[in-house]
Symmetry: C3
Subunit: 299 residues, 3 copies
């Protein structure tokens, strides 16, 4: 269940739990605390956030829970993100939905995240989306300062192409340790566009967002989704497990070391994902899912 996200560092859990819907879960502070403890008990210690989740509210809800038991902090790894500006009630000064990677913004965003999370450091900070206005040198300066101040231990990116990754990495002394991208049996593009090849080459961990394709793997009604659902259903039955578990096992099988980010607020769902670590998905079955998604045999 432990996973070395990069040869030079960041020891996290193979399955991560995301908190982007924390607000929707309508948990009390103590229910949130209970959920966090349940995650840790399952070995899911890598917890995924972003400043903007829940209209900039989720980090604070998490922090309010955590302050009741601060000793938990060192038993988890907190991933959070910065760089998207999202107009919302709580941030009236933001007028345009855009990106901001000026050093000033990155530093201020981290300070807000730390305050909201009620933590003294972030384990891994990700740039949430590539921006056409990214200045890699300026970002590198911000990263250096955050590291020196002890506010962030590791850095990564999300939704970056190989060229964007190379550009930013070229300005950094420490390696980027994560690229969090969309990966699921219904989202094969990064399996084929070089993203996973490039990460595997550089021993950088892909984290998978939307591993269930936003629910399309359960309820999508287009032809592609239905083809994949049929195969997933058969395999779940054969393996006496759930569709969730087949999908997680499918992601875990990839040699690049994909770490899926789970999104449900139900502990049972997370427990099932964890159990998928021991499901022996054969390569035949792996390709059956691939072929169902592509809609044609491999060449």
């Amino acid at each position: 269940m432990r996973h070395q996200y990069h040869p030079l560092g960041f020891d996290g859990s193979r399955i991560a739990q995301g908190f982007w819907r924390l607000q929707e879960w309508n948990m009390t502070s103590s229910e949130t605390l209970g959920f966090i403890e349940a995650c840790l008990d399952l070995g899911v210690t890598t917890l995924d956030h972003a400043d903007i989740y829940g209209g900039y509210q989720c980090e604070a809800l998490f922090g309010e829970a955590l302050k009741h038991k601060p000793a938990l902090r060192d038993k988890m790894e907190i991933v959070t993100k910065c760089g998207i500006l999202l107009p919302s009630e709580s941030r009236p000064e933001i007028r345009v939905h855009r990106y901001d990677y000026r050093a000033e913004h990155i530093l201020a965003s981290v300070d807000r995240s730390l305050a909201n999370l009620q933590c003294e450091y972030i384990d891994t900070l990700l740039l949430h989306r590539p921006s056409p206005l990214m200045d890699a040198d300026e970002i590198a300066q911000a990263f250096d300062l955050l590291f020196t101040l002890g506010k962030v231990k590791h850095f990564g990116v999300s939704n970056f192409t190989t060229h964007q990754f190379d550009l930013l990495q070229s300005r950094l002394d420490a390696p980027l340790i994560v690229n969090q991208v969309e990966l699921s049996p219904l989202a094969l593009q990064h399996f084929e566009d070089g993203t996973l090849d490039h990460l595997q080459q550089h021993a950088v961990t892909p984290m998978a967002w939307s591993p269930f394709a936003g629910g399309e793997l359960f309820s999508g009604s287009n032809e592609k989704a239905k083809r994949v659902q049929m195969v997933l259903g058969e395999l779940a039955q054969q393996n006496n497990c759930t569709v969730d578990q087949i999908v997680v096992a499918w992601l875990l099988r990839h040699p690049s070391g994909i770490c899926p980010v789970m999104g449900s607020g139900k502990v049972e769902r997370l427990a099932m994902a964890v159990d998928a670590l021991s499901i022996p998905l054969s390569d035949d079955d792996w390709f059956r899912i691939w072929v169902a998604s592509k809609g044609q045999p491999v060449p």
Copy 2:
């Protein structure tokens, strides 16, 4: 207004003036000389040519003007290009519109350009378009010879992909200092396909050809052009400036250090572009233009 095109050399102007329409301007030789002097007075010292402009005539028209005041030569940087064969009245031996990067052709093309421009050296020679038949080793030999003979000081390319750039660079001792590509609010492809990321990584300057999208930014009638025109118009009004200036400011804001190549023969137009260097385009406004061109919000 000065711009270091590469850390290892070529000190030019941030705004360049192109002469591909010089023939259409119908200037007398002394009018051309006056135009050149006006460019230099504005600080626009990087002057962009190609052997083929004006059906192989523009370089010679420029040279005829320059010979009246040869002392101007060392106050400007001449960029010219080679590699396209274009059937035209003045070059009857060319039968097929194609590319030629044989060493023999590169060397002969530079000699013709020097004769036409009435100069002893070219500041920067660009390969005009990538050719499927480019032999990088042969090109490297031609570059070496041109540099040794003092005929060309720096080398660059135009319209090259990242792979083509890497191939050629791998055979050269000196860095390519420019990739001149199409960049404008209506031509976003190179902002997204890795071209600008790769240039920023290697500290190579992108020059922007067709920064006004061949006039589409003023008069284009498709949906995309109209969306962008509306935003540009609003911003020009708010900033009490011209649409030209908003577009130039938009290009200048990019962290890769884009140098736009202006194409008008009117000094006023060029003067306005130069003034755009001091227009404070906000990032909000930068993204408004981006989103108008994309036709959808950023992800």
Copy 3:
């Protein structure tokens, strides 16, 4: 006619002969031997196989012929491939058409190829198609073992993207010496997507499969095929040669050093291809074919 496939090794022939249709040729063992000898007499010493050709039968048919004259072995270079699993009568244990690059499979596949070919070594082993499940580290271990055991002298790939190539190469001490991809006047994609640029950069030889586009260059009826056929026909007439020869000359002209793999079982066809080495296709004519395929002038 000799061709150095990589600066560090593999001396083969510029024209290769493929045996993927050997079974369809319905040759007796001694006819096959005669065909092999005719290839060698023509200087075509690089002979291309794959485990799966002919439903896993072709290698054995070749081996049966070769055993009648084992001294021929050292006069040829055998290329073969592994990694595709293809359900077929002779391999009932294969249930899903997929790829397999587990070390165990690679090693077993080579042993089967050696047994079938009745040889003690393979000159060059290619991974037949990239797989989403390729583990570059595991493949590297298999390659090391095969090299140490003397079973395979060189390694290469087929149908790999630049990212897939870089990933695998990053784990190997020795260079990959070949990427065998589809290249023909009707298949220009790899001339433009960076594949050939990248191979030229790293001095790796492209082998061209389907150089006649599976016959479409002779009999294809779509607009693109007809445009190319017309130009090829004119050029064949002008050069007093065959369309085959024009196509081979067109491939040979590319600076990346393309080695076409011929597929006919008729010695005359192969002899014609060899003669194409001396056909002086002009660059004008090269681009006429390119433009006919693209359907528009070069930019």
